[in-house]
Symmetry: D2
Subunit: 424 residues, 4 copies
């Protein structure tokens, strides 16, 4: 690989290779190993395991799934010491130090796939071009394969343009964006604390090819929470009073959670997506679990919802004398993009080939956990921007026949690399 | 009044006078003043106020009602110092010390009326004979006027037969039996602790004239509890999230309380008799109150129910972030009569004029708080008996046209006085 | 009274007289009688009783309160035939027919007071000037005394300027605006169906003296609903299974109502302001009542909330095998003012003495049942406007020390009379 | 096989063969085929499929499991026409007609196993003697292998003693006793309607080797019910109001079900053993299922519980505007054994070798669906008895290391055969 690299070809080939081996959140061991190797080849210092991911803040990680994935990764040829360095945690941060005074810039790329079985349709490009998912039930149906490819291309570009650069550049390859699980522990790794400028991007979603949304708005705050109750079994006929009914606690909790008061200052949401309780028809249920999410128009409303959830979780445990635990399974916050970065990107985009419309504000309307990384940077005095690179798509995100316009990988690459240059 | 007293005439006239001035639980100031005076005339030392009623354990006393009743009593001529000695608490214990070694015997008589308006029917004896209730909405419709009259006659008899007696005799005139409220604080007064033999009695109820039930069974354990929630008001349209919804807490508590698991070892009950919450249609409710009762076939089951109630009361307060308090408004326990006393009464009854059937066991099936006094005596090593003196009645207890066969006052008197003699 | 009437003096004196005799919704018999008399003196045909108020749609009327008020009105000298014409229903519509071709214009004035005890403070003008409320616990604390005074002045003005007028003018004196109860039955009287232009107004509220808000927005849709459950009593200890527990139905309904899902399209609200259930601690409760309100950012959302309430009311009746009924106790809708009228008022206001700011749009943010009258007119092809005449106030509406700047009665009179002239 | 058959050896070998191939309720195709063949060899007319099992009343049959079991049976050599005659329904009734006038006697044997994995312990007889279950997760851990072996031995005995017999004898091999599922459809087959004497038996359970309980009491009435709600999915963030929340319906149903009032006339129970709802965290749940059971001390109380369940199932469907269905998954009733049969068995038992104690009454305390067959016989004018043949056991019923004293197969055989002779 030389400086003469054709970045589009590189990104397309990387994207397609990644597409063939999609890995779900917290199991991206092969993906991460590939990134680590490439970053090292390009003179990045690579932070892995607990250096990049604070284990205390890991959200929604299934230990059994991770274990299986590690076994699979080893079988697929990932070196034992690479796996060891990961400490069971996926994702990594590549740090490129120019050894010249200058800003600290962080770019973020998410690397996980979704639980979707890829279509068999022959009109689907990955089928036509032979790069469909090898992993049953898993698919890069949200474009993170593209995001990762852009990140790798930028790693190469940074290494080969180091003479034009100053300061430090951190490439954050974040695991487990789906379910908004992976950003929090990366935000809490300490690696974002010294960042002056943070940039994140999503392909497609709310914009088509040619459009760049430089200031998307209305990122929804959300928290994903599991509540688990543990009671005590008893024979329902003979000794019901000896039971501690976890199903009763969970059902009452569900009823109370749905009744959390609306907030006078704006939109709030609660959904209990799943409730599972009990072991058998004639046994007082000893176990119950609720999987829920709350949302808020802003952080205060979201936190209000979380507070109510926590109170109810506890109250119902007390009412029914059962043990309980709550676990945050994912989270994202809202984001006000830094105006300087918005203005700068608008200017850069206006001069980028292929960009036909620079869209100022457009409602994002969903949750994205890059907001947690951005929030951390802003809290520590830096500036942050999350923008949208429009890309035509064949179907909605997370659909079985989703695909995006690969040409826009180039647009994304151009925008990031120009922003880096302009931020020197 | 002399030793030549015709006890039946005395009891009839006392009973009728009491019937004219019925006083509801914790307001029996005039009734108590009359008893105090009569006990003193008969050389009893009289314990009043906190000497007879432990204020810490007072159940279900309405302070405003008591205040009004004291004003009424003063207006009716009750001496100021008598009222002062009562300390706002009705009922009293008369202690007759023979100054000879011997057992401590306690007899219990309940003195309160019920919230029933007496019938206007001319076939009703109190109307015919001119001794109907003077107090609108109040009536001695449970026979406590008769019980009190028997107690007064026994006071006279004890004083005039002191040469045949030894030890100490305590006549316990208990307030507020209705709602099972008055026994607990009398049991906790300390005056029952040294009692060797405790005797209590109810007229009629489960037996007709001529029958004596010497060992009634199945006294139901019960606890009457109020739960109160205090939250915070807020405008329901503009700022619902600032409210702390006491109505929500109370409604959820009601729902959970009804769902307390049945007990495998026997009968249990729960009823939320009343729920009142809220201040206005467009205000988040800040106050709520539940009035409930639990019952159990035995003390363990009753206590199980109470424990669940307390857990739920607390759990719902936590769920909705409101303050709460619980108050025991009444209670009664079960009772196993002491076999020696049962046997003794059976023998006494068999030799008492007018007794045609000595019934061994019959189900009582209700709650009676004399059981708490009996329990205290038994716990401290004494023996206890609660029995039924059959009496024909014109209608069920607590009915507007209830009346009982006054001749059985004599039977009750005979049984008590003979028991006292036999227990020397 | 002559055409030389000083309208400000007249309105001030009328307002103060009305302030002294505040009458709560559906009891405004004396107020209505006064209006009827004045309208007749000024050559209006007066529609009363079921002519003005469709009995089928009466909301939240307390029959006992109305009965007492009629007795009071008779005692205060209201003629028997006037009372008879009212048919127990307050409010009236005065119809002035110019007998010349022209538009039908309707003006609306609300006449009821609120349940607030007037302050004793000497700084309060009604106390200083000797016109405080004679009726304990009742007060014109929302300015309807002023609204009514303006309506009466306009009646005089119309009569004395009939030569400048054409068509028909209807002055709608609406009862029971508080609780949004009185507009619906007036809207359903048929008297609004032929109206070309409808004008309504509120003093103060969201604007100070000198300001006229010509196009207030965000009138909240709301419905006030009572749900009543009737079950069957039973002894809670002996035969609980024979009861039909109305308290259980109501508590579960409360819990479910609080859990009605938020609406994705905008603001919704639910509040159960009161819940009362049960007759006694040891009786399975046979009666229960919930007093609630829903709100919605628009009619569709409000109706969504109403639909959910109705489903839950029924569902809980079925679950607990109890009878139920629901009653709409009040309602209001949203309003989009007709642009022509907004523009016309803006022009009129700009030329009215004392108006310093013509405010285009400002959020109203509350509920006002004039919207139902406006809605009826618009549905039938007419145009409608509800505007705000700013007025400084001494305290918030419905506060014990509320008072408003009386000078603005003149501004309101001027705006209405000029609008009438301009709409010819 | 000859009349010289050693019945103990035969039953032991049959029981052990059956033990090796346990089949769960409604999948007993191989077991049934074996029984059919043996009955036919012994001159029984065999009723299968819908002749023995009324399809309308089949409870808790998993069609997929049955399908797999039929495939397995075919592979194991069960003849195609035998399978065809079963019509997918297991169990059969063998009818032996002596062609002599006499009573109709029915004996009942249950044939299914339980979902228990057999212990690996070497002290466990099936392991020592090499007849452990071949079917993972399935085990005859309730003694039905023994019951079936006794039934087969009796078939042989009847055939070879037909000269001593008159009337008709029906051997009912009932499927799916576990979960009390199989008796109802057999009771509704019509085959029990002409029965004069019905006999059923359980080995062990509440009696040890040597004991015969001739009149077990307190068979609990029970009904096993599934409730399923189907709502409509919607995005929980964007359009929650478009969802129809099945989880909300199910949770509220659970809460209400737990709150079904106790019955004043005796023991009642309710348990929701399992609740499963929802498809994903951010989707309004469209599906929910509750698996519950009720019990009652008698049929009336049990039916009261069922009625409440059905009302609540419907009420919650209405409250949340979701579809619902309920399915009876199993049922059993109580039983008062016919005194003549009790007396006869007591006499027979007293003369049976190996019987050391003839126990009159002992509490059964569980549910057994033979009661439904007995009930049918009694309703149609016959007499019925269900008795216990004591047998020492190595562990409780349904335990992984359960085994029973095989010698008692002989006792059971002796009792049944003697009863048949005595009932001629």
């Amino acid at each position: 690989m030389t400086t003469e690299l054709n970045y589009f070809d590189f990104m397309q080939s990387q994207r397609r290779a990644l597409h063939q081996n999609p890995e779900i959140g917290w199991t991206e061991f092969q993906t991460t190993a590939h990134i680590i190797e490439f970053l090292k080849e390009n003179n990045f210092r690579v932070l892995t395991g607990s250096q990049a991911i604070n284990p205390e803040f890991v959200r929604g990680r299934d230990a059994a799934l991770a274990e299986q994935a590690m076994t699979r990764a080893a079988a697929a040829g990932v070196a034992a010491d690479t796996l060891a360095q990961m400490e069971g945690l996926t994702g990594c941060i590549g740090v490129f130090d120019t050894h010249k005074p200058g800003p600290v810039i962080a770019l973020r790329f998410d690397i996980d796939c979704v639980n979707v079985a890829e279509t068999q349709s022959q009109s689907h490009l990955p089928n036509q071009a032979g790069f469909r998912s090898h992993n049953p039930g898993l698919m890069h149906a949200c474009g993170h394969d593209g995001h990762t490819a852009v990140g790798l291309a930028l790693a190469h570009w940074i290494n080969h343009h180091h003479d034009q650069l100053s300061g430090v550049i951190k490439l954050c390859f974040q695991p487990a964006e789906e379910g908004v699980r992976g950003a929090k522990p990366m935000a809490e790794s300490g690696q974002l604390n010294d960042v002056d400028y943070f940039l994140g991007m999503h392909l497609s979603f709310i914009a088509n090819s040619g459009e760049i949304v430089v200031d998307p708005t209305h990122f929804l705050c959300t928290q994903k929470i599991d509540i688990r109750y543990q009671g005590r079994s008893a024979h329902a006929g003979a000794q019901p009073h000896l039971g501690r009914n976890a199903l009763a606690a969970a059902s009452n909790a569900a009823v109370q959670l749905l009744g959390i008061s609306r907030h006078g200052d704006g939109m709030s949401r609660i959904n209990i997506g799943e409730l599972h309780a009990g072991e058998g028809r004639n046994v007082i249920p000893a176990h119950a679990e609720l999987k829920l999410e709350v949302r808020g128009e802003n952080s205060a409303i979201n936190q209000y919802m979380v507070d109510q959830v926590m109170a109810i979780a506890k109250g119902c445990a007390i009412s029914f004398d059962v043990q309980y635990e709550t676990e945050v399974m994912g989270e994202a916050v809202d984001l006000n993009n830094s105006p300087e970065l918005v203005a700068l990107l608008a200017d850069v985009a206006a001069h980028t080939p292929g960009v036909t419309h620079v869209v100022d504000q457009r409602i994002f309307g969903g949750s994205e956990d890059a907001t947690l990384l951005a929030q951390k940077v802003i809290e520590e005095g830096g500036k942050a921007l999350f923008f949208i690179v429009g890309a035509d798509r064949t179907a909605g995100h997370h659909q079985t026949d989703f695909d995006f316009d690969e040409q826009q990988l180039q647009t994304a690459f151009d925008l990031f690399s120009q922003m880096i240059l302009r931020l020197q």
